[in-house]
Symmetry: C2
Subunit: 192 residues, 2 copies
């Protein structure tokens, strides 16, 4: 290693991976085990071997999308380099019911026009697999929003408190109304 001795080693640029995490995992917190394969320098300082390693990535409750977790110098070793940092950036996995907005969870609730006008009770699923019945007695206009306080994600800096579950209503219209019903509805619907 004479040729290298005294020369300033330079670190390889960081290796960045996306880390997809579900809303449930963000809600509960979790540990992701990621296997990496890296080249390591043998004791002779010249030859390298390939080694597998498990990185344990601890995801704390409520962490936001974009959070970066860095493992310093876990990249490939060569005789000449300082190994790169390995970084993971949190990305939300798509969810069948929910999307998130910071520490709030947004749920789109689709109801029929009949339910919107005549009242209904909708069953709202929560991130922890309960169902909350939400009575809607007033007219629900398209875009109406209701808030279930404290049913969102934990705040990352004080995880005992939680954001809200925000219910956004979409109103499904019928494709057509038969003429006789039309006339009756016309007489009974207030001017808006």
């Amino acid at each position: 290693p004479e040729a290298i001795h005294g020369r300033r080693k330079v670190q390889d640029p960081p290796v960045v991976h996306d880390l997809r995490v579900s809303l449930e995992e963000i809600f509960h917190g979790c540990t992701k085990r990621m296997k990496i394969t890296r080249r390591r320098l043998n004791p002779d300082g010249r030859t390298v071997r390939t080694e597998d390693k498990i990185l344990n990535i601890v995801i704390k409750k409520g962490w936001k999308e974009g959070t970066k977790i860095t493992f310093p110098k876990e990249g490939d070793e060569t005789p000449e380099n300082i190994p790169a940092d390995i970084a993971f950036i949190l990305k939300d996995k798509g969810h069948p019911h929910f999307k998130r907005d910071s520490s709030n969870i947004i749920y789109t609730c689709k109801i029929s026009l009949k339910e919107a006008l005549c009242g209904c009770t909708v069953n709202i699923p929560t991130i922890d697999n309960r169902v909350i019945p939400l009575p809607c007695n007033d007219v629900i206009k398209p875009g109406t929003v209701k808030r279930l306080r404290g049913e969102g994600l934990p705040y990352p800096k004080s995880p005992s408190q939680r954001g809200d579950l925000i219910v956004e209503f979409q109103v499904r219209f019928p494709d057509r109304i038969p003429p006789q019903s039309r006339e009756i509805i016309k007489q009974n619907l207030p001017v808006s």
Copy 2:
């Protein structure tokens, strides 16, 4: 001017103004007269005077927002400079009824839920001050769009042809419905 003779003159950076134009002006085409005040070099090549000048800006039919019209070297003259170019960039003025989307004009038509469900004829204003009756016999769902072909803005490159007038519907819901009407509507509204 000995000191200057032989030295390379540099042009001042362009002076850029926004030019607000109404949709009607874009529709018909127009000429905008803009007064500028500039310093001009006297024949002695050393002293300057202030001069007003009218720039005639010809706006052709259908020109898009962002179109740039340049008047070369109409900036201030000094013994040392090449005068700046004066440029105008087209911006749409707000319009009480319309906004534009490229060569299409968008009109938001607000109707009541009763009209949306039971049918109506809406009167659509055009950019050239006509009114087009638009019959709506089918149920109008929120976000429904209808197109009046050729009632938009002229295409800038072939102004004899025109884009469309796009009618976007917004449906106004009643704030409340009295219980007895509610019951009747419930019986007459199809499942959607």
